[in-house]
């Protein structure tokens, strides 16, 4: 434990106060606490593991009775929140760049349990408690019983074993009591048997957007506004119409309500209905079931043995030699399982396996077959999820009209129209210049009334138009929205563009917000991550000393929001000069609206710290690019 150093002298009130605080604080002012020394580290690990489970039960403990919810959640972004190697490295990289002062910001939302257990903010996932790895698990929402609202994840979670009270939308215990009475369930944590929570209590806020705002309105303690999803919703037509976050994101359709909010059948038609639990062979009575997949723009880039979370997949290192352990292999062992080569499939095992050398854990064909069952199950879930993600994106973004554009419109749409070339083009257009150019515009609309698109972590959500113009022979004469060799669009964040190895895509339409930071002087500098490089060399995160409420932002960094407002639209404008039209008419445009969860330049920017699971930055980036979605595609004839 470090101590506060330095002598404070003086007679003023300030000094008295300062000394009093300084004397009072040694216990409070500490680097990360260290645990008492224990003779047997392995034993200590096991004890800590068990103790932690009594505080924050694993989702696997809930999954026994709630298999539908568990399976949905297991492939969700909430379940992936901590496992993501990009998140993990980004957290560590920003902590490094801010000299450790980032603390638990970011990870407090991503990993409530781990942070409450006092785990390090950065480490390999294999070294975390399994419940910590579960990210935003059952207890993170259902052990919360106070209205903390916009607090960026810094809220209190009730502790206790699985038998403790759980909080839900209704607090109706009828079915629970019936299940307990039917026998076979234990509500005393000290008794043997299948344990269940003794009661549920209603926590009304769980059903409102305000509950989501606890994590989905992210303001750093220095006043930097990172995410505004909840605030956007609160001021949206959806909120006014009584459509909550849950209505669009936990219903039967992703990102959209299935029926008018005022329809008397709304609950019945917007949500699934079924038993909330299955105990033994008995299902509880049907009720409204919320969808726990929490579909969003992210997708997994990790080994499918590790994600989706599968009760039968992972065992801990200390269980490695325990045949009764529920999981099949440790994280490190799963990383050795070459699923892409086909291990555990008939094709592989009947042809190539005989010549292969396998790690010790996977020497047995039976084990490889068993592992393959888990892999295939997980791949099925991932594929389902990819389909739902596309549904979400299609409800969020709509490709609208595609129209020709006049030379005047085109001139004013030129990048840098405030500069002389733009002004010259505009003047020229007034006198007939640019008549032979090919100009057109593409409408991109928000398909929903709830928030901007993209929203949330929009500073890293790439949603762009890939536009190609082909001549009559199919030769490409124009392109915008193509990718550099890293998989980035050619914007200022592309390393190739920054290094002037590829030209800037000056007509790129991209809805990604941009982080801009204050330099020593001059305008703000656009950056991949929002860590100012100036003004001081010692970057030390402190609370904003001015009123963030009044001034609205932190003055070292901010996000230039570019997303489309609810129900709004934008026009992407394209200008192809006559001398670029080198082929024969008629020309046609192939227009694709695409979405990526993050740009590879983010992988590059924070990659100096290294990625988990032995992944290279290149592997992570390639997996990110592999997950790109073509949300909409259209082909139009541009004429002669």
């Amino acid at each position: 434990m470090s101590r506060i150093r330095g002598s404070l002298t003086g007679t003023t009130l300030v000094w008295t106060t300062a000394i009093a605080i300084a004397l009072a604080l040694p216990a409070a002012a500490s680097d990360e606490e260290t645990a008492d020394t224990v003779a047997d580290p392995d034993e200590a690990h096991i004890q800590a593991y068990l103790a932690a489970s009594d505080l924050y039960p694993s989702a696997t403990a809930c999954g026994g009775c709630h298999p539908t919810q568990y399976r949905q959640w297991s492939v969700s972004q909430h379940a992936y929140a901590q496992l993501s190697p990009v998140f993990n490295t980004m957290q560590g990289a920003i902590a490094t760049l801010t000299n450790g002062t980032l603390g638990d910001f970011c990870i407090r939302c991503h990993n409530q349990v781990g942070m409450n257990l006092g785990e390090p903010t950065f480490t390999a996932q294999a070294d975390r408690h399994p419940t910590s790895r579960e990210g935003i698990s059952c207890v993170v929402c259902h052990r919360l019983n106070r209205e903390y609202s916009k607090i960026s994840g810094r809220f209190f979670l009730e502790t206790g074993p699985v038998t403790s009270t759980i909080y839900g939308p209704t607090g109706n215990n009828t079915e629970l009591d019936a299940a307990i009475e039917a026998g076979g369930l234990v509500t005393d944590p000290n008794k043997a048997g299948r344990k269940v929570h003794a009661q549920t209590e209603q926590f009304f806020q769980l059903t409102t957007g305000g509950f989501c705002g606890g994590c989905h309105d992210v303001v750093e303690l220095n006043g930097f506004r990172l995410e505004d999803a909840f605030s956007e919703w609160k001021n949206s037509p959806a909120a006014k119409a009584g459509i909550s976050c849950q209505d669009c994101h936990m219903g039967v359709e992703q990102g959209k309500i299935a029926i008018d909010r005022n329809d008397p059948e709304f609950e019945r038609k917007n949500y699934a209905f079924g038993p909330a639990a299955r105990v033994g062979g008995r299902a509880t009575a049907d009720r409204k079931l919320t969808n726990h997949r929490f579909v969003g723009p992210d997708h997994s880039v990790v080994h499918p043995g590790l994600f989706p979370l599968n009760i039968e997949a992972i065992k801990e290192e200390f269980e490695k030699d325990d045949p009764t352990a529920e999981g099949m292999a440790t994280i490190d062992e799963w990383l050795q399982f070459d699923w892409k080569a086909g291990w555990g499939t008939d094709d592989f095992e009947e042809s190539e396996a005989a010549d292969g050398e396998f790690p010790e854990r996977w020497e047995s064909p039976d084990d490889r077959y068993d592992a393959r069952v888990i892999i295939d199950d997980n791949l099925t879930l991932l594929e389902e999820m990819r389909g739902l993600q596309l549904e979400l994106l299609r409800n969020g973004y709509v490709l609208g009209e595609i129209e020709p554009m006049t030379p005047q419109e085109a001139a004013w749409a030129a990048p840098g129209f405030l500069f002389l070339p733009g002004i010259w083009k505009s003047v020229s257009a007034m006198f007939g210049g640019g008549k032979s150019d090919l100009n057109f515009k593409v409408e991109v609309k928000s398909g929903q009334p709830g928030h901007n698109v993209p929203t949330g972590f929009d500073g890293e959500r790439v949603v762009w138009l890939h536009v190609r113009v082909l001549d009559s022979a199919g030769k490409q004469v124009f392109v915008s929205g193509d990718l550099d060799p890293n998989g980035d669009v050619r914007d200022l964040h592309s390393v190739y563009v920054h290094n002037h190895e590829l030209p800037l895509d000056t007509q790129l339409f991209n809805l990604q917000g941009k982080f801009v930071t204050t330099m020593v002087r001059g305008p703000e500098q656009e950056q991949v991550i929002a860590v100012p490089r100036s003004p001081g060399a010692a970057r030390f995160l402190q609370p904003e000393f001015r009123s963030s409420a009044l001034l609205g932002r932190h003055f070292g960094a901010r996000k230039h929001r570019i997303g489309i407002e609810p129900n709004g639209h934008r026009w992407a404008k394209y200008r192809i000069k006559a001398n670029e039209l080198t082929g024969n008419a008629p020309y046609k445009a192939i227009i694709q609206l695409k979405a990526a969860m993050i740009p590879p330049n983010l992988v590059h920017e924070v990659g100096f710290l290294g990625y988990d699971y032995g992944m290279t930055p290149r592997e992570v980036a390639e997996a990110v690019v592999a997950g790109h979605q073509i949300v909409w595609e259209r082909e139009v004839d541009l004429g002669n």
């Binding site: 506060i4 003086g10 009130l13 300030v14 000094w15 605080i21 409070a28 002012a29 500490s30 680097d31 490094t96 760049l97 000299n99 450790g100 002062t101 980032l102 603390g103 409450n116 006092g118 903010t121 950065f122 390999a124 106070r146 903390y148 609202s149 607090i151 209190f156 806020q205 409102t208 303690l221 505004d228 609160k234 949206s236 909120a239 006014k240 009584g242 840098g416 920054h498 002087r521 001059g522 656009e526 490089r533 100036s534 001081g536 010692a538 609370p543 000393f545 001015r546 009123s547 409420a549 009044l550 001034l551 609205g552 003055f555 929001r561 570019i562 934008r570 990659g607 992944m615 290149r618």
Partner: protein
Amino acid sequence: MQGAIKLRFDRWTLRQFRPLVAALLAALLAAPAGAEEGEDKGGILSWFGWDFHDSRISDKEPGRLTPDFIPDRPARLELGNDFVGTGPISKGFVLPTGATWTPSFLLFGTHRTAVQLFDTGRPNASFSEWANRLDVFGNLILSGTERVTVSFRPFDEGFTGPSPTTGRFTGYYFNPEHGDFKKEFNADLIALFFEGDIGEIFPHLDREDQYPLDISFTVGRQALFYQEGILVFDTMDVVGVTKNSIRLPGTSNLQVSFLYAWNEINRGDNVEVNNLDLFGLFFAVDTPWSTINLDFIYAHDSSSTRVPRSSGIGERSKQDNEDGFYAGLSFVQRVGHLSTAFRAVASVATDEDADRIGDGAGPTSAVDTGVVLFGEIGWTPPHTRNWLYLTMFVGINDYTPAARTPGTGGPMGRAGLLFAGQGLGRYAAPVANFAQDVFGGTLGYQMILDGPAARRQLVLELGGRQDTNGADTATLASLLRFQQAFGRHILLQLDLFGAVGNQRSPGWGGRVEWRYTF
């Protein structure tokens, strides 16, 4: 001193530098070609922030990630929940309104100590000193949106720079006072304000959270900063409200703020007045191509009484009410590879124009009529994180800021390090930062010398100003700043400048600052 410099250049002729220049050029040219993939390919250029690694994302395999890859959270002076610390969060308590507060307190701040020498080039304006400044902030966090912040500056009285005020910082004057120890300890309250969100304080007003009650407000003494300090840069007693996340078709966000200030307001001449009411209306909007700020302020002076500072400097008589209307408009965007910002800020003396004071390079009236046009362009060169910037401004007539804190001089500090005082001791801006009948600017280059960590930086600036009213006070100056971080709390900063101008002897200055952040 000037003689010594001249002697040195007489001895060292250009011929003697030739081998050194040749070796340097050879190293610069040879270094990028000679390195292997994955190695540092910058050679000597890497010393100046150049990095010639491949643009292709790395295939380098990492080792096992461990907690010691990153620094621990530093020790903090805190009570209650740790500031961004791990461990359980306390449960807090529920207000009668239904909101839950989890109070915690953090003491933070910065101590700056510097030895500095400054010769303005004007008669009797040469000094050397050791000066200290301690900014202490107490932050009582109540919830995610509510907090109380208090601040003190116990080592100084908050004045800096030459006329109209003198430095009053704890330290030691070497010259010209010859050994005068200054004790400026005080417990003056610099700021004390509360800020919160109506919707969060009263959650039960709207249990479904479906109405836009997320209206932020603040009350108390606090620092304000608008149009990058050109319009307002002052600490005053304020009540303000803000509505963010307003939907405006075609834009991504609109924020509107209104404030009323009634006390501790320093006018454009850095002098505090009583019985001044200041009303502000501020708009900030994110459009797809630019961030636009549009700000309006009206200052109503209901008294003819001026409050002089205790030093007496800056006091003057006043013949009429000095109401003023102010407006600022800015566009901040990236265009091609360039970052750009354009601002137009105006002041209008609505009662009557004030008498012009001085030659335009010095203090102004409390309020007068004028406009400042201000442009900034920045560019990050390839293979670097460096920052080449150009700022330009034109002051038309006699622009006066709506409020400007004592010791910060005029409003053009944003134009360059050369135009900004240090806020510590008497080391003022090398180039006058007032905005009457003037044009000027700065060309600067900020070098990040050590990669992503950005702990070592070098800044070079060349800048100047020229009046347009015939006073002929043109000034040209250059500056060098070096910064190096040590550990997590300490920053060493070296500054050096030289300035030449009409109607003045060459001026120069240098300083070494040690900054401790906690």
